[in-house]
Each structure stands twice: as structure tokens, then as C-alpha cells.
């Protein structure tokens, strides 16, 4: 496997412009002759499908949801970053670039991140033009808030529903193209495989979730915008259906999977309340603008939070990281919470929680201002916990939230399989080992609105695509394999449900490949996962048939892929003998417990190639070269 990042030469600030100038164009009349299959209609997929159709390409969009508007992106709360410098507080393209590279603990590509930062401002303009109702100041101008890992205020938002409003903007643009007949929209279709013909991605296999019919959709390029794999942990803040199947199947067809062990644990989520727990709810990071995080200073202090006087509280983030305080990056804030709880000073049931306290802000600004800023989040918290955060501090605990790893892509967002493009959370491209808050929405929309529309043209303009049909042996074989997988799942007739297996897998991953990892635990996981997988394939119970809507089947099929993928994650965590960003190896830490990066040996992207059934995957290293920033030890002190 050869991995070329295809980063254009020249100075950082000129790379994207000169690349665009050098890309060959497809003549407008010819665009409709190229058909593009876009899988996923989240921010990345919907923006790509709409924009490609506007350009004249023949687009088919696919989602397993009943409507493109339901994609997981809808749930993003806090906001989207852009280097607009509207606040005149010193922001710039360079600063957003630097914050993102540093926030990612120097494990991402300079060129990709710089481009992201460059196009960020256009995203806001585009969304405003679509009618996205961003928050405004009284003068009518766009409002901003701050997010973790930044000392400028560059986050745009729409109440606590930024993802919803951005997705609806992209959904509306997509709907317009569907209405005009330029996009063929396929809802309730589960993509099960990629079809590769003559070494190029030429189609996908889909299963109709209502009828069970399995067929192929063929085209000239495939764009995967299928989101992240956080649900490998079972409990996460992701939507219940989010899964790894699309990207993992592409991996099995030859696409490299990069940095699978880079997963993000979000510091502010509502703690688990029982074993029936089905997902974890995020409380937006924006709350850390006004909330102060603390635990009791002394062990065994079980007083009600309001009865604990100032001097008996430990505002540990403010204490340890005075310059960023409560706005320290996610990985750091999460680990600090875990440390406090491991130290026996956690609060709430089981001691798995820390306080996020708004009483200072309420005293200073008044409850009305706090309600304006976070009203819907406070309401959500109260609905779930039955406690009123205006009166008692919230209890929060870290939870799996986002996956920085994903399919390996080059500067054009193309994987190593020609014609297979990967956008949004599904690729590995921009966030290194840790993503800063409000940067995923930015990346998804940058990829879909402003990158793929250029780079896909460059691919098509090269030519060499003969016509293919669903009758090619590769397509027929992929359909047969997908059908065989469904049949195999339905025929096990065991005793244990896919939910139960998923929970068991999640527990292994959380305990051994979660917020802190060590070689011994990872080795154990490498024994436990295959054993669980074996039990899955011999003891699964799956009621119902494959010919009608069967949600247990949908779920089991995803869990089957998680079972294999989990092992790859563990392998990746094991080979990376350093701590960086969200990947904390207990063996590699400084004396005061901070992550100890090893740039000499690990400043690379770990890209894994599938080795075949039963064989070990192979590791390819793409060295990361830093020409514009100096690799510094991240300090938020």
C-alpha cells in the first residue's frame, strides 16, 4: 500500500490557492455525465451532495435515516469556529490554525489544518446566506462565544442548537436539489459495502431497511460522510445508530484506517444513572464559559454542595491550569475529572461525578442572563436528572464523544482507493490526537461545501473511468457477501441479544482502551475481544426476518463490525507508545501526571491496512512534517 499525502508544495498560506489553480476542471456540460454517490447526510454529506448537484454532477445521496435531517450532526449544541476576528481580539487564520494544530497535540497535517482555517470564514457567510439564524448582538451583528483550548472568542452559535441549525441549512440546500431532480435521495438504506472495480471505488451495496432487498448503486466516485465510531464504547454521546460499518467495510476493501485509537472523551456529560442506561447526554462545553468545576477538597466530605464553604472546595482546573482554567482543552479537563474521582473525591452516586457550578455567574450576571445563554441546556439537565441547576450545581462526568481517527485521506480528501473520498468525522484528517470544541462542525462543512467540490473535479478530469454496471462480477460478489452476512446473523439462533453483546464490548473498550490505557490492559483486550466475537457468532439471538423492517437485525449487523473494528483500535493504542491528546498511555506521563509525547518516534499518522481474514493488519506510517510550527509541549498552565 502506498500512501501519498499529495500536499502541494509552496508556502503554507499559498498551498490551497495554488492547488485549486492547478486542479484540472470538468467542463460544465460534462459534469452531468459523472455520477457521485454520497453516503451520509450529516453536515459533511448533505453539504457535499447539495454543492456537487449545484455544480451539475449527477448525485445519489444515501442515508439509513428516514430523512436526511435526522443525521447525528443535528445534536451538536455549542457552536462552530471561524477565524472572522469580529471581536477584534486578535484572531486570525494563523491563530485558528495554530490552536487547532496545538490542540491536536501535533498529530495532524499542517497543510490540511491551514486550509480548514482558511475556509472557515466562508462557511459562516454561506450559512448566513442560507438563513441559518445565528445568535446576534443588539446591533444586529453576529455574536460569538469562547470554547475550550482558545483564548479568543470565535465560536458562532444558534442558541444551544447550532448543529441543528447548520444541518437544517445544509438539508434545505439538499432538499432544493432533490426538488429540482438533481439529487436522487435514498432514505432508509443501510450501506453494507463498497464496490471496487479495477482498483477504483465504483459503487456501494445497500440494503433497504423496510424490505430487506440488497442491491448496488454504481457511479464514478463514492463519497463516505458516515460519521464517527464512538459507539464502539456502547455508551457515548453519539446518536444510537451511529456506527463504523461504512468505513470499516471500506477498510476491508483496501482503504487505510488512520489513528483509530484517537478518541475523544468529553469532560461535561451527565453521569450514568443505572445499567439500563442507553446513551450519555452531553452538556455543551460552552457551559464552561460561566460554570466553575470543583470537587470537595477533603475525602469523605458528603455535605450538600451548597453547605461546602469556599475553603473546602477544590476548583482543580483553575488551580492546575491558571491561564486556561475551566476552559482547558477536553482531554485535559476529562483526565483531571477522572483523577479527582479516582482520588475518591468524586460526587454523586458511585462517586463518579464532579460539580459544574453556576452560582458565581448567577450572582454576577443574574439568572436571566444565564437562562438566555443556556436555558435549553439547563432544561435538558433538569429533565434527565430531576435536579434544578439554577439551585444546585450540575453533576458531570466525562464520556466518549468524538473520534479523531478515521479513514486515511490525502490532501484531496481521497482515500488510497482512487475515487473513494471521505469527509467529516469519518476521515482522520484535521484534528490530530484531540479535537477542539466547535471544530467538527467547521470541518464537516469545510469538507462538503468548499473542499470536495474542487478536488473531485480534479479526479474526474484525469479521465480513465469506463462505464460500469451492477452486473460486473465485483458488484455481484459484494451483493452476495452482504446477503450472506445477513443470513448468517439470522441463523445463529442463540440466546444473547445484540444489545447485550454491544454492552459487553463497550465495557471492554471503556475499561481497557478508554480514558487511560496501558500495555497490560490492551493485551488483555486483545484476548477478550475475539472471545466475545466468537460468542457473538455462536450465541446471538435475533428474532424476526430479513424481509421487513427489523431493527434488531440492523443493530446486530453493526455490532458485528464493531466487534472486528475494536481489535484494530486496541492494536493502534498498543503500538503508540506515547501519550498525546486523547490517547493517554499510563506508562508515558510526566511527574505531575501530564501526557508525555514522543515526537522523535511517534510524529506519524498510523495508517492500518487490512491483512485478510484472520491475518494481522499492517501498519504504515505517514511521517508528519512540521515546517511552520515548532513542536512544543502543550501547556495550558
Amino acid at each position: 500500500m502506498e500512501l501519498h499525502s499529495h500536499i502541494p508544495s509552496g508556502p503554507l498560506e499559498r498551498k490551497w490557492d495554488s492547488h485549486k489553480a492547478n486542479l484540472k476542471l470538468v467542463n460544465p456540460a460534462n459534469k452531468r455525465k459523472f455520477s457521485v454517490i454520497v453516503v451520509g447526510t450529516g453536515l459533511a454529506g448533505a453539504s457535499a451532495a447539495a454543492t456537487l448537484a449545484e455544480l451539475g454532477y449527477n448525485v445519489t445521496a444515501i442515508t439509513y435515516h428516514d430523512s436526511p435531517r435526522r443525521a447525528h450532526s443535528i445534536a451538536a449544541q455549542g457552536g462552530i469556529n471561524a477565524a472572522k476576528n469580529y471581536q477584534n481580539d486578535g484572531d486570525s487564520v494563523w491563530r485558528l490554525f495554530y490552536d487547532t494544530i496545538k490542540g491536536g497535540d501535533f498529530r495532524s497535517r499542517e497543510a490540511n489544518v491551514y486550509r480548514l482555517s482558511e475556509v472557515s470564514a466562508n462557511i459562516i457567510d454561506q450559512c448566513v446566506a442560507q438563513g441559518v439564524p445565528f445568535a446576534r448582538e443588539y446591533g444586529g451583528y453576529l455574536a460569538n462565544r469562547s470554547f475550550g483550548g482558545a483564548q479568543v472568542s470565535r465560536t458562532f452559535y444558534a442558541r444551544g442548537q447550532t448543529g441543528q441549525q447548520l444541518l437544517l441549512g445544509a438539508y434545505q440546500a439538499l432538499s432544493r436539489q432533490i426538488g429540482l431532480g438533481k439529487v436522487k435521495m435514498l432514505n432508509r438504506k443501510d450501506m453494507m459495502d463498497v464496490v471496487v472495480v479495477d482498483g477504483k471505488a465504483r459503487g456501494v451495496v445497500i440494503r433497504d431497511m423496510r424490505t430487506g432487498v440488497i442491491e448496488t448503486v454504481m457511479g464514478d466516485a463514492v463519497v463516505l460522510a458516515t460519521g464517527g465510531y464512538g459507539n464502539v464504547f456502547y455508551l457515548s454521546t453519539n446518536a444510537k445508530a451511529s456506527n463504523v460499518t461504512a468505513t470499516f467495510r471500506a477498510y476491508k476493501k483496501g482503504a487505510a484506517f488512520a489513528n483509530p485509537c484517537f478518541t475523544q472523551i468529553h469532560p461535561t456529560c451527565i453521569p450514568q444513572s443505572g445499567d439500563y442506561q442507553s446513551k450519555l447526554t452531553l452538556m455543551s462545553e460552552s457551559l464552561r464559559n460561566d460554570g466553575r468545576i470543583w470537587v470537595p477538597k477533603n475525602h469523605g466530605d458528603h455535605r450538600a454542595p451548597g453547605d461546602i464553604p469556599e475553603q473546602d472546595r477544590d476548583y482543580y482546573l483553575e488551580r492546575k491550569y491558571p491561564s486556561f482554567g475551566n476552559l482547558s482543552p477536553r482531554d485535559i479537563a476529562s483526565r483531571a475529572a477522572k483523577e479527582a474521582c479516582d482520588d475518591g473525591r468524586g460526587v454523586g452516586p458511585g462517586g463518579k461525578g464532579v460539580y459544574l457550578d453556576f452560582s458565581d455567574a448567577i450572582n454576577r450576571l443574574g439568572a436571566k442572563v444565564i437562562e438566555d445563554r443556556y436555558g435549553n441546556l439547563f432544561e435538558m439537565y433538569e429533565r434527565i436528572t430531576g435536579e434544578n441547576p439554577y439551585e444546585v450545581p450540575m453533576r458531570i462526568y466525562p464520556a466518549v464523544h468524538y473520534t479523531m481517527g478515521g479513514l486515511w485521506v490525502d490532501y484531496n480528501l481521497m482515500s488510497n482507493i482512487p475515487g473513494l473520498f471521505v469527509l467529516g468525522e469519518a476521515n482522520f484528517s484535521d484534528h490530530g490526537a484531540n479535537r477542539l470544541g466547535a471544530s467538527a462542525l467547521m470541518q464537516g462543512l469545510a469538507d462538503g461545501y468548499f473542499v470536495i467540490p474542487y478536488t473531485i473535479g480534479g479526479y474526474f478530469a484525469k479521465g480513465g473511468l469506463s462505464s460500469v454496471s451492477s452486473d460486473t462480477p465485483e458488484a455481484r460478489q459484494a451483493v452476495e457477501q452482504a446477503a450472506a452476512k445477513v443470513q448468517a446473523l439470522l441463523q445463529i439462533n442463540g440466546k444473547r441479544t445484540s444489545q447485550s453483546f454491544h454492552r459487553a464490548l463497550g465495557k471492554i473498550m471503556w475499561d481497557k482502551c478508554g480514558m487511560a490505557r496501558n500495555a497490560q490492559g490492551l493485551q488483555e483486550a486483545l484476548q477478550e475481544i475475539p472471545a466475545l466475537r466468537e460468542e457473538f457468532w455462536s450465541n446471538l439471538t435475533l428474532p424476526g426476518s430479513g424481509e421487513q423492517l427489523n431493527q434488531s437485525l440492523d443493530h446486530a449487523s453493526r455490532v458485528a463490525d464493531f466487534m472486528e473494528f475494536a481489535e484494530l483500535m486496541v492494536r493502534d493504542a498498543l503500538q503508540r507508545e506515547e501519550s498525546c491528546g486523547g490517547h493517554f498511555r499510563e506508562e508515558y506521563q510526566t511527574e505531575d501526571g501530564e501526557a508525555l509525547r514522543n515526537d522523535a518516534d511517534f510524529a506519524y499518522v498510523a495508517a492500518w491496512g487490512y491483512g485478510g481474514e484472520g491475518a494481522a493488519p499492517t501498519l504504515h506510517r505517514e511521517p508528519l512534517e512540521f515546517e511552520n510550527v515548532e513542536l512544543a509541549t502543550r501547556s495550558y498552565k
Binding site: A50, H65, D66, S67, R69, R70, A71, H72, I74, A75, K84, N122, I124, D125, Q126, C127, V128, A129, Q130, G131, P133, F134, A135, R136, E137, G139, G140, Y141, L142, A158, Q161, Q164, L168, Q172, A173, S175, I178, G179, M185, R210, A239, K240, A241, S273, Y276, S278, M380, R383, I384, G386, F450, P453, T497, Q499, T541, P543, Q548, L549, Q551, S552
Partner: protein, 249 residues
């Protein structure tokens, strides 16, 4: 707590369907309503019976997937709360709970509690957008928008497209949904150019999809988990009349 559940079971679109009764023990008050159904489904699966199909995804009240009529009310008894956000502390030991799908001609049942809401998508496709291509849009701040208008637009844009308004309406009208999108865009300068054609096209599509007419019951407003105001319906009606009389210019 212990509950008796009466749930609509329907194997497929052409099946007749009927209510079936299930007893469930050991329900914790901290569970969400959907987690309670998860527990039931686990038990059914372990017994080899087919679990109850229901739609859900975010479980945070924002994706609009979940939708079921609980004791006669869309999304259940709590105001401004989706089914996924409803917690069992709202119920008490010994309660009987009736769970049914949305019922409307334009939302045919696919299975059990899952209905086909693609008619909503087609309403949006007929005009629920601003016709702007991706490209070099002008700087966002060159278009100041009074905070009041932006806030009002956001109130309307908060719609999650769940369909509770249709399920609550005696006529199965989709006016609250349609007017929320039209209202969001008509509150903003960006939405003015197509304001009247948008209103007309969306309302005509709504009728063609088989939704009923609005006769001002406002059950929709009471059922809406996002508290969307029925004022937007009046606004859409005015725009629609102007559009059809050709007096909008």
C-alpha cells in the same frame, strides 16, 4: 415500579394491527421512556418474540425521530418534552400506559410505532429553503439582522420535524410544521425574495400530500415538544393569501 403497557403492534404496512398488553416489572424512575421500552424489548427478544419497533436516534430531543402517542398525547404527558426526554419519574407504580403510532393519512404505518414521514421532506423540497448556491456569499456581518427578528426566526427554526403537530390535530393538518419553516425564513432578510412563492408552494404540497386543512384548534401548539407558536400559522396564512391573490408584489 410495575407497569402494564398496551402497545400497538402491526407487522407491516398492510397488516391490520392491534393493541397488545405487556406487564413490566422493576422499572426505575430514572429511566427514560425509551429505556423502559428497551428493557421490554430485551425481554421479548430473549423469549424469541419480536421486539416493538419504534424510531429513535439522538435520545436528546433534537433529531425528531422518536414519535409515539402516549396515553392519548403525542410524546406523552409532559409539555415541551419529546418521548425520548420523558422519564419514568412522571409515572407511578401500577400505571397502565397506552402507546400508539402517529395516526394520519399522510404518515402511513411501516411497522408497530414506526410511520413514514417522508411527506414532510417533500414539503421542504417544494420551497422550504433560500435558493442560494454554495460560493462566495457576502460577509455575514454585511447583513445586520435585528436581534428580535433573529430570535423569532430561531423560535420557528427550532422545529424538529417529529410530526407531533399532525398527530395532535383532529384534521391531521401539517400547518404548524409548514408555517414554522416558512416563518423561520420569512422573518429574515435572506428569505424575502422567495417569501410568497415559498408559502404558496409549500401549502399546495402539504395539501397534495394528504394533510388536512387547519381549522384553528391549536392542538398542534399544545403538543409541540419545541413550543412552536401557532402565530406562525396566521403569518403563513397571510402570506399564502397574498401569494394566491397575486398582491404580494
Amino acid at each position: 415500579m410495575k407497569l402494564r403497557l398496551h402497545i400497538w403492534r402491526q407487522a407491516g404496512p398492510s397488516d391490520q394491527g392491534m393493541m397488545k398488553t405487556y406487564d413490566l416489572d422493576n422499572v426505575s424512575e430514572h429511566m427514560s421512556f425509551l429505556e423502559m421500552l428497551d428493557v421490554l424489548n430485551e425481554q421479548l427478544s430473549e423469549r424469541g418474540e419480536e421486539p416493538v419497533a419504534f424510531e429513535h436516534d439522538c435520545r436528546e430531543g433534537i433529531c425528531g425521530s422518536c414519535g409515539m402517542v402516549i396515553n392519548g398525547r403525542p410524546h406523552g404527558p409532559l409539555p415541551r418534552t419529546t418521548a425520548c426526554q420523558l422519564h419514568m419519574r412522571t409515572f407511578k407504580d401500577g400505571d397502565e400506559i397506552y402507546i400508539e403510532p402517529w395516526r394520519a393519512r399522510a404518515f402511513p404505518v411501516i411497522r408497530d410505532l414506526v410511520v413514514d414521514r417522508s411527506s414532510f421532506d417533500r414539503i421542504i423540497q417544494s420551497g422550504g429553503y433560500v435558493s442560494v448556491n454554495t460560493g462566495n456569499a457576502q460577509d455575514g456581518n454585511t447583513l445586520p439582522i435585528p436581534k428580535v427578528a433573529a430570535d423569532k426566526a430561531m423560535d420557528a427554526a427550532a422545529c424538529i420535524g417529529c410530526g407531533a403537530c399532525v398527530a395532535a390535530c383532529p384534521n391531521s393538518s401539517a400547518m404548524l410544521f409548514t408555517s414554522a419553516k416558512a416563518g423561520h425564513l420569512s422573518m429574515l432578510p435572506q428569505g424575502q425574495a422567495e417569501r410568497y412563492s415559498r408559502s404558496e408552494n409549500m401549502v399546495l404540497t402539504m395539501d397534495a400530500e394528504g394533510f388536512g386543512a387547519c381549522s384553528n384548534h391549536y392542538e398542534c401548539e399544545a403538543a409541540c415538544p419545541k413550543g412552536i407558536s401557532a402565530d406562525f400559522i396566521a403569518r403563513l396564512n397571510r402570506d399564502f393569501v397574498k401569494a394566491s391573490l397575486g398582491t404580494s408584489a
